[in-house]
C-alpha cells in the first residue's frame, strides 16, 4: 500500500465570508462551520475561536485535536466509519493542512480536562501551542447524557476537520511525502539483509471516555489485528478518549503517528518496516491475556526481529504493556516500549504499576506528576471553573491571581506515549 501525503503549510486561520485555503492562510466561514456542527441534533450551540502560537490564550477543557485532511485520489475518504464509508483507506493521495488543527472543547464530564496554553511555560509541554487552532466550544442540548455529548462533539469535530481539509483538495502541496508498505510476501524479498520490524500500537479501550475507534469499531471489541501504517494517516484510528490529557492520543496524534513516521524514515536503510499491529487495553483481565497472546502471535507470524510498542494511559494499560513485552520477547522478538511515568510529585515513587525484567528498553515521555505553575493568560477559550478537579489539578490549583498550580498531566499531550515530544525523565 502506497500513500502520497501532500502537506499544505498553513500559517494563519482567519474568519472570512468564504472558506478557502489561499497563500498559506485558512479562511473560515464561521457560519458554515457552525451549521455543520449544529447538524448534530444533540448540540445546541457552538462558539468558534482562533488561537495562534504566541498569543496569551488558554484553551480548556480540551477534548480532541484533529488535523484537517482530505482524500485527493484513491479509495475511501477521511475518518472512515464516521465521516466517510468504511472503504479501506491509506492509499492514493491525501492532502493535509500542516500547521493548523481543529480543537474541540467543552466539559463533557465535570472533571473534564486538558489545557493548551499558546504561550508561557505551559506552551513548551504541548505540541498544540505550535499550531494555529480553530477551537470549537460545543454546547449540548439540555439534559444530554455524557456519552451522547461525547459522541456529538467527536463527530462534529471530525466533520469540521473534513470540511476544512476539503478546502485543500486542489491546492498544490508545499511538500509531498511518499510512504509505502509492501505486501507480506514482497517484504521478504525487498530488503533481505535488514531486520524485520513492526509497530505494535496499544489503543485505549476501557469504556466511556476511554475509547478509541478503528473504522468506526470500538477498539475494545477488536481482536488485535494488522493494519497498514498509512491507514492511520487517513483517520482510520481516532480518539474518543477524554481522560488523562497528558497521555491520551488525540486524533491528531493518530493521524501524525511519530512512531510510524520514524520507522518509515529508517525503512530500507537500517530496518525493514513491514507493518503495524493494533491491540487494545481492556479492563477485563482475560481480555488482556487474549489480546497480548494475539498481538505476540501476529508478531511471530510476521517473522519479526523487533518491535516498538506504544502504550496509552496509566495503571491498567501498564499491565497490558508488560504482558505484550513479555510475550513478544518470549517469541524471540526484541522490544522497545514507550510509556510515561507517574513517579509522584517528588519523583520518588515507582513510575509504573507493573514491571518485568524483560522490559530492558524503555523510552519515557516524562513524569506526569511533576508540578508546574501556569501564569494567568489574557484570554480563556472554554471555561476554567473545573480546573480544580481536572486530572492532576488539586484544591487551590486555581489561585486568586489567576495562575494555576498543577501537575503537567493537565496539559494536552504533555507526556504522550507515542513519543511525540522531546520530553523525557531520568
Amino acid at each position: 500500500m502506497k500513500l502520497e501525503l501532500g502537506h499544505i503549510d498553513i500559517h494563519d486561520i482567519q474568519f472570512a465570508a468564504e472558506s478557502a485555503v489561499k497563500d498559506g492562510v485558512l479562511y473560515v466561514n464561521a457560519e458554515a462551520v457552525k451549521a455543520l456542527v449544529l447538524e448534530e441534533e444533540n448540540l445546541k450551540g457552538c462558539q468558534l475561536e482562533i488561537a495562534r502560537p504566541g498569543e496569551s490564550v488558554r484553551i480548556t477543557p480540551v477534548k480532541d485535536v484533529i488535523q484537517p485532511r482530505c482524500k485527493v485520489e484513491g479509495p475511501g475518504g477521511v475518518f472512515p466509519g464516521f465521516v466517510s464509508k468504511v472503504d479501506t483507506v491509506g492509499s492514493g493521495k491525501t492532502h493535509s493542512l500542516r500547521g493548523c488543527a481543529v480543537v474541540t472543547a467543552g466539559k463533557i464530564v465535570g472533571f473534564q480536562e486538558g489545557i493548551i496554553d499558546m504561550t508561557g511555560p505551559g506552551a513548551d509541554y504541548t505540541p498544540f501551542s505550535k499550531t494555529v487552532n480553530l477551537v470549537m466550544v460545543c454546547e449540548p442540548v439540555d439534559g444530554l447524557k455524557q456519552h451522547d455529548y461525547e459522541a456529538a462533539v467527536r463527530i462534529a469535530g471530525l466533520k469540521v476537520a473534513a470540511y476544512l481539509g476539503e478546502l485543500g483538495k486542489d491546492v498544490t502541496p508545499d511538500e509531498v511525502q511518499v510512504f509505502e508498505t509492501k505486501t507480506l510476501g514482497e517484504s521478504f524479498t525487498e530488503y533481505p539483509g535488514l531486520p524485520r520490524v513492526a509497530y505494535v500500537q496499544m489503543l485505549q479501550s476501557q469504556g466511556l471516555l476511554h475509547d478509541t475507534y478503528v473504522y468506526g469499531v470500538d477498539a475494545k471489541k477488536i481482536i488485535p489485528t494488522l493494519i497498514y501504517p498509512t491507514e492511520g494517516m487517513d483517520g482510520a484510528i481516532l480518539s474518543g478518549n477524554c481522560v488523562s490529557a497528558c497521555d491520551k492520543n488525540t486524533t491528531y496524534h493518530h493521524q501524525n503517528n511519530p512512531v510510524v513516521a520514524d520507522l518509515y524514515a529508517q525503512h530500507g536503510k537500517t530496518l525493514n518496516f513491514v507493518g503495524m499491529v493494533i491491540t487494545n487495553e481492556n479492563v477485563y483481565l482475560a481480555d488482556k491475556e487474549r489480546s497480548s497472546n494475539w498481538a505476540s502471535k501476529l508478531c511471530e507470524m510476521l517473522s519479526l526481529d523487533g518491535v516498538v510498542v506504544s502504550e496509552e494511559g496509566f495503571g491498567n494499560p501498564d499491565t497490558d504493556l508488560i504482558m505484550n513485552c513479555k510475550k513478544i520477547e518470549g517469541k524471540g522478538i526484541k522490544t522497545v516500549l514507550i510509556t510515561d511515568e507517574y513517579a509522584g510529585q517528588d519523583g520518588k515513587s515507582q513510575s509504573l504499576a507493573d514491571a518485568d525484567a524483560l522490559a530492558t528498553a524503555v523510552v519515557s515521555g516524562g513524569n506526569a506528576n511533576e508540578v508546574i505553575v501556569l501564569p494567568k493568560l489574557d484570554k480563556v477559550i472554554g471555561m476554567l471553573d473545573y480546573v480544580d478537579v481536572i486530572a492532576g489539578g488539586h484544591d487551590g490549583s486555581l489561585r486568586e491571581d489567576g495562575t494555576i498550580e498543577a501537575e503537567i498531566q493537565v496539559i494536552t499531550g504533555a507526556t504522550n506515549e507515542l513519543g511525540f515530544n522531546c520530553m523525557s525523565a531520568r
Binding site: 531486520p195 516498538v308 520518588k348 530492558t360 524503555v362 513524569n367 515530544n421 523525557s424 525523565a425 531520568r426
Partner: protein, 349 residues
Amino acid sequence: MSKLKVLQYINQFFAQIGGEEMAHIAPELRDGPVGPGLAFNAAWGENAEVVKTIICGDSYFNENLDKAQAEILEMVKSVGPDLFIAGPAFNAGRYGVACATIATKVHEELGIPVLTGMYKENPGADMFKDKIYIVSTRNSAAGMRDAVSKMAPLALKLARGEKIGASIEEGYLPNGIRRNFFDKKRGSARAVDMLLKKLADKEFETEYPMPLFDRVAPNPAVKDITKATIALVTSGGIVPKGNPDHIESSSASKYGEYCIAGVDDLTAETYETAHGGYDPVYANEDPDRVLPVDVMREYEKEGKIGKLYDYFYTTVGNGTAVASAKRFAEEFSQKLRAANVDAVILTST
C-alpha cells in the same frame, strides 16, 4: 555575587603525599587548594574558590570511622564553607567510600551543600547515591578534566540553591528521583534508535530501568530433614560479645564466621547484635531471638533435624550495599557447600 568559599576533601594520594604506605595519615587542614582544587578554581574563575583543603589517609578514615568523621566535622565547622567538595575519587574504592561518607555526614550534620564524584562502580556510589549528588566520572584519574568540567557547574548550582535538572543533564548518578527534561530527539526517534541498537546487540541505555527485585527460584525441598546438616546465617548482626571483627553497625563492609560447636543457647553475656537502626534491647537480651540456636539444638536433640552446622555467618543488613551483600554470600556459600551443609536458615532483624 561574592566568591563562594569551598572546602575540599582529598586523600593522601591526590595530595601527593604518597600511596598505600601513607594511607594511615590523620586528617590535616591546609590553606588553599591542593591537587585537584587547582583545576576547580580554574573552572570557577570569579564564582568560587577552594579556600582550604582537608587531607586524610584512606586507611585512617575507614579504620577509625567515628573518630575520623568527628575530626573532619570539626575542621569543616571551623572553616564554615559555602560548599563542601569531596574527591573526585574515580575508581578508588576506599577513597570513594570515604568521600561519600564524609560528604553525607557534612550535609546531614551541618546542612552545607556537598558534592562528590566517582566512577559508577565505586562501592561508595552504590552506598550513597540516594543521599547526596555524586557526579559520574571515568574510572581513573586520567578523567580528572572531565570530572571537573561536570562537577564545577553542578557544585555552583548546589551552593546557590538553584534548581537541579535531571541526572542526564547535570551528570550525577541517577538517584531514584525522576526529573523531567527536554531531550534533543523526540521519543519515537529515540525508540527507533534504541531498537536498532538492541537488534544489533550493541549497548543501549534504557530511559526507565525497571525496578526489579532479585527473585530467587526456590531450591528443591530437602529430601530428608532428619538427616540434613543445617546452617544459620543472619543479616541481623548477631556476633560474639564485643564484636571481635568490628562489623559496622551500618553499611557493613564485612561478615563474620563464628563457631557455635557446643553452644546450646545464646545469652546476653556471650552474644550481642552489632546492628544499628533498630532497637537492639530484645536482641541483646536474648540473641536467640535473631539467631535461633536454642531451638535448633532442641530440634537436633529430638532428631527433627540431622545436625546444626558448627559455624554461623553474620553481617549487618542496615544500609549495606547489595553488591557487598552479594560478595559476602558468594564467599560463605562456597564454604557451606564445601562443608556439605544441606540447607540454610536465613534470618534478618
